[in-house]
Symmetry: C2
Subunit: 198 residues, 2 copies
């Protein structure tokens, strides 16, 4: 039997990570978000901090910045090297076991996997700002708004750079859920139900 | 208790109408798609054929065409008049009863309704082309492809014209489902489940 893979792309502050963790618990399968970082760091020899910082948030699109990027003797930037290791680990995980993977272009990397469900979680700005203030280190509304814009922008640039897709374009996903309107627990239910289709 | 309204926007050939009808049956509430046409025709005095043709597929965006449009003594085009009647009837329906409404900018018209679930149904081109050939009058693959492009283009223009939104932008919906990956019956289940959140 093929492993079932659930990939979850999410807007920053939408509760996607929380939803993904509960989906994994309900299905009794492993959950990979920050759990991937240690694996990638070990295999790549890169520091965990670098992997965390750049795993979903690189490269800059600026042509000016291009010339300043450190490259290895293959002409590959550190970010591209990190992405290629991350990609290999995601493909290996999907071979080994059913699991839930958060972000990191996993929906694209596993696009040919026969049993994958690609989920996109989004929410209203008000809801995200509140969650960022409560749980994600936004100390004020202004700071939370800045983080919301900044993190999604970086994720979008990273995704669009490493795939031929547009981040958040619904047509690349199996289902997309508004976590504010539906509530986090309802989203978990719907994804678990949808996963039965695999 | 407030009425529950489920609006379904759909790509042509995605099976959205079929899904909507089954959702209405499962919830035991009325279903409005072509059923709206007779109501709008009666109230507006316009022919049913005109209402069917223009209710979701007008106006043309061409500035050249603008000068050739028939207008009433309010300076309103027939299409705008039709849209305003259609809008009133959708608002009245939502006041009267719980129901499922297909297309016709109902998601936007009812955006302030306290208990509404806005659904977007989409699918892969291959799946839509096959369905258009089987059920929607596409006599050949070429004809089906032309219909798929043409109908969605008209729906998009109509929606973008009468709302301040972008048709198919996931952020305006409560949930969006890929009917090819999930299957039509699974989509019905997921919508019925999500409707419990209302």
């Amino acid at each position: 039997m093929e492993n079932k893979i659930i990939t979850i792309s999410r807007e920053f502050g939408s509760g996607g990570r929380y939803i993904g963790r509960l989906v994994a618990e309900k299905l009794g399968i492993p959950f990979y978000d920050k759990e991937l970082i240690a694996k990638v760091a070990e295999k790549s020899g890169l520091a965990e901090e670098f992997v965390e910082k750049k795993g979903e948030y690189s490269p800059s699109k600026s042509m000016f910045a291009y010339g300043f990027v450190v490259r290895n003797n293959m002409g590959e930037s550190l970010e591209d090297y990190l992405h290629s290791i991350q990609r290999k680990i995601i493909l290996e995980l999907a071979e080994q076991e059913s699991c839930v993977i958060i972000g990191r272009c996993a929906d694209y990397i596993l696009k040919d996997h026969p049993k994958r469900l690609n989920v996109f979680i989004y929410s209203t700005p008000e809801d995200k700002i509140q969650r960022i203030q409560e749980y994600l280190g936004g100390n004020s509304e202004v700071e939370a708004k800045r983080m919301m814009r900044d993190m999604d922008k970086k994720r979008r640039i990273n995704y669009n750079y490493y795939t031929d897709r547009k981040w958040g374009d619904v047509r690349h996903y199996s289902l997309a859920l508004n976590s504010d309107e539906l509530g986090l627990d309802r989203c978990v239910d719907l994804i678990v139900n949808a996963a039965e289709a695999l």
